[in-house]
Symmetry: C2
Subunit: 151 residues, 2 copies
Amino acid sequence: MGTRYRGSPGAVRALNAYVALVRAAESVTARLQPRIDRAGLTVSQFGALEALLHLGPLCQKELGTKLLKSGGNITMVVDNLERRGLARRVRGEDRRFMAVHLAPAGRRLLRRIFPGHVEAIVREMAILSAVEQKKLRVLCRMLGLQERRDA
Amino acid sequence: MGTRYRGSPGAVRALNAYVALVRAAESVTARLQPRIDRAGLTVSQFGALEALLHLGPLCQKELGTKLLKSGGNITMVVDNLERRGLARRVRGEDRRFMAVHLAPAGRRLLRRIFPGHVEAIVREMAILSAVEQKKLRVLCRMLGLQERRDA
DNA sequence: GCGGAATGATTCAACATCAAACCATCAACG
DNA sequence: CGTTGATGGTTTGATGTTGAATCATTCCGC
């Protein structure tokens, strides 16, 4: 995303803000990535385990919503977690639902790597003061929580 | 990324800020996506055309840096753009470099869709005031411009 | 109850992405 | 010059991701 675009000041301002937003998210996430790689997980797998640890068992649909991934993809992510013994599927009372549970090995793995992950995030964000971090959160939440519109 | 994590206030603050940042970027980008889909482009293809339009011809390495994508991937993106007649490769004087040029069809396509894209971004960002947009940009740039560290 | 709509999960084909290995070209140095 | 190292690009193999089609199950109106 170049910055050579010429348009109204309002458009340039919005564009600059958007580009900076996306770059910041990608940049920080890229710096977090090696740590997850080293645990032998993909970002989606890590996200799924993290959601299961902190939210408890979820059905795949819910997992997809949390991770912003398609249903087909969740099937594969859970397949891989199950194959490695990190999670297990339990068919729900409503037999359409598959409740995904964290297996003991998955819980151990996540407990082992999650603290370091949080520390890394803290270090990444430490370039901002506490007040700035809060401000960033407020601004981002306004953008993130908007309703989807006409397209 | 759930928010049920219990840790020190500083850790929770950093985590909340980071999660909000990533969600905002993904959320806004997802709302922009259908517009790009409708033009029959992938996000990377759109990004490449946009870079070429506003920065002029670039070699693939530069393109990769702009788009934060691997070299191998750029080869495929440019392959696909070239196959559709939207871009063309020109071997440079230093024959290692491939200068990627925007083809007339690519220029027409981008000129047709880019203004609407910018308008959509302006609408997305309009939930923030001008001052807030500038503040967001400043905060995000601090995060984005940090040096990569030990890992 | 029954037949169809709705919902969750799975499969499948197409494509994106990456890292590593590889090839081609250039630059530097003896 | 000729070798060696650096640099840009491509290929390859593995995996992730998506959207559409499909299957199984449940829900709902009649």
